[in-house]
Symmetry: C2
Subunit: 165 residues, 2 copies
Amino acid sequence: MTAQNNIAYQSDHDHSRCISSALQQAHEICKANGQRLTKIRELVLKLIWQSHKPLGAYDLLPSIAEAGFNSAPPTVYRALDFLQEQGLVHRLASLNAFIGCTHPGHCHQGYFLICSVCGTTAELESNAISQSIGDCAQQAGFTVEQQNVEILGRCPNCLQTDDTH
Amino acid sequence: MTAQNNIAYQSDHDHSRCISSALQQAHEICKANGQRLTKIRELVLKLIWQSHKPLGAYDLLPSIAEAGFNSAPPTVYRALDFLQEQGLVHRLASLNAFIGCTHPGHCHQGYFLICSVCGTTAELESNAISQSIGDCAQQAGFTVEQQNVEILGRCPNCLQTDDTH
DNA sequence: GATCGCAAAGTTATAATATAACGTTGCCTG
DNA sequence: CAGGCAACGTTATATTATAACTTTGCGATC
């Protein structure tokens, strides 16, 4: 889970803009919430945003060490917990990995399309999915608190270059 | 089908029937697939079916030891891997836990309603969810291989007995 | 500007989950 | 009944995550 390829699904997207935009939004959201986006927290967010591929907590430790911080596991988990609480990153349970939230700052559920070949992951907001899940739950008398929707498959780029399909 | 979804929430459901039915189906499916449902595999399946609550791999080890088998982790993980391959159990990534499949033997996606209070988990089959996910994926040019849908919330029983809501 | 209180970060240790690797057993089949 | 292979036993270790306590440093108040 450490590969490097900063192309979402469009090869022409300006990834440096993704990062700087994510960091700026993070500053605004933390300020609005009266929370501190400390150096470590900002660094972890930046590292998470280096790609559109989910990264494991332990993948981040070397870079944290390089930057001169303590790099024991609690350091990165604290930062990740904080970022999750602020809605800035999501945890993908099926991968034990983390990814930057592409639309922080509004209350939402994230649904994820994860490419099984290249790892690139896109976050969706879908009323249709949300509604169908809500309907099913309601029918079962069930009140929804949290949704975990992680779809594994092939992204357009990897479908193109794959002759077995 | 929808009747069965709710069985886990009904206090009067005949659970011993759940278990024996699951075991019998397992025998049939393994036979049909030319696979061996060995003693350990059957025991693990039975243990998983003791309740409608997901169980961790390590939760099963003591009972496996009691039954006189080796109870090192590989034993239970091998059995669980086999049972998953045969479509007899599902793994819930958000809990690192396993649960019996309530309709094995047909090709399907399982969607899960997990009660955050009592842990009771129901498996759904829903064309609406399936369709909405398929539509979103297609729109993104994405081919679906595997779906992970785990919904956390309150089951009807726990809603009734909960005065904070 | 000193100090107090608290949130954040440092540090050490360990828990919880999962797999690698290799040896042994025992079932099926020819 | 021998040979091959799948299943299981066994030991060790990888991977992911948290507990618990100490130290640091920010920022509010005096």
